[in-house]
């Protein structure tokens, strides 16, 4: 059978997709809970006020699919200011290709009006340098662009901005 094509999420996805619990991968009072905050920018450097960000990640032990760990976050609204915030815990390391271990990372889908399909990126953590240095996916990214995949520590959590285009364009992946 043949694939169904992708179409844009917009406009007015906020009728159907975001929900109040969406940004909470874990409850706010969970041990180790942290906030990943960012903004989605277009090629003119303007915040995209109708964008949607989804995240998928391992639990802190590097496991997937445990009943008590949702692993999924969805944040975004329309008529917002382009910012998103996910409440989560830092994932553990998980296996990569050919017996490697991957540094803690979160898979991200970016959707918006004006995007005919999602863009896929990953959040890595700037304070995991040792693990990042051994990560096979980061190693495949041109060195000068790796920083676009790093969430930077800030009070209360991390900052991770997404640039769809232009200077500092985020690395997006073909999956």
């Amino acid at each position: 059978m043949s694939l169904t094509p992708s179409q844009t999420v917009g406009p007015f996805f906020s009728i159907g997709l975001p929900w109040p619990g969406g940004p909470y991968v874990v409850p706010e009072d969970s041990p180790g809970a942290t906030r990943i905050t960012g903004c989605v920018y277009d090629g003119a450097g303007e915040p995209i006020t109708d964008s949607l960000v989804e995240t998928w990640q391992a639990d802190p032990e590097g496991g997937f699919g445990a009943a008590e760990f949702r692993g999924f976050g969805r944040a975004g609204r329309e008529a917002g200011d382009g910012t998103f915030e996910i409440v989560t815990v830092k994932p553990g390391q998980v296996p990569g290709p050919d017996g490697t271990m991957q540094a803690p990372h979160i898979d991200v889908s970016v959707f918006a009006r004006g995007m005919l399909q999602r863009c896929v990126t990953r959040i890595y953590f700037a304070d995991e340098q040792e693990a990042n240095d051994r990560d096979p996916v980061l190693a495949s990214v041109p060195a000068e662009r790796r920083a676009t995949l790093l969430a930077v520590p800030q009070p209360g959590g991390y900052r991770f901005d997404i640039h769809l285009q232009g200077p500092g364009e985020t690395v997006f992946f073909r999956l």
Partner: protein, 234 residues
Amino acid sequence: MRRYAPEPEGTHPPLDYPPYRSTELRHPKQPLVYLPQTITELTGPQLGRERVLGEHDHDLTRQHEGEPIGERIIVSGRVLDTAGKPLRGTLVEIWQANSAGRYRHVGDRWPAPLDPNFSGAGRCLTDDEGRYQFVTIKPGPYPWGNHHNAWRPAHIHFSLLGQAFAQRLVTQMYFPGDPLFEYDPIFNSVPDPAARARMVSHFSLEDTIPDWAQAYSFDIVLRGPDQTVFEEEH
């Protein structure tokens, strides 16, 4: 864990598609980097219980005091992968304009009436055969600002989580025979005409309920495992 087959050229629209003007500043210009499918991409969220809560989540005509105005329809189909395997218990989320082509959203300012009895959002989980079903109102077409006299063909937005991050899909379902197809850059952004046709639902007399509602059928096919030797064409 089995990897997912590559997506064939021409199925998904390019991110850079000038006829749809808003793509201009919203597409990456740097080459995409190959991401091997690891456990993160081969697993995915199971959101069922958190998102499908109410008895009328799948029935958009019964979410308010009264019935919405418009043509009552049943929209149903199966969610499968390219190997034909039904995807069970997967979340299907939809949203749409009302019968006048107006969305219940502060940003939608075109002067068509809102319907106090229609919110336009639905959710359900597929059953053991991958089947889903919604009861709703046929949405109307509406104008948009992309170019002079631009109108979107009537459509229902669909969001599928699938069973893995790699299967995630957001699409739109269209209605057969819409005269607006040839003028719509979003519909025509899909390069392969056969793939485009897969976004168009079929009228189903079989599922139509006499004296109550017409039915449209719409199967959704997500990425399937690689190394599929015998691929059936439908």
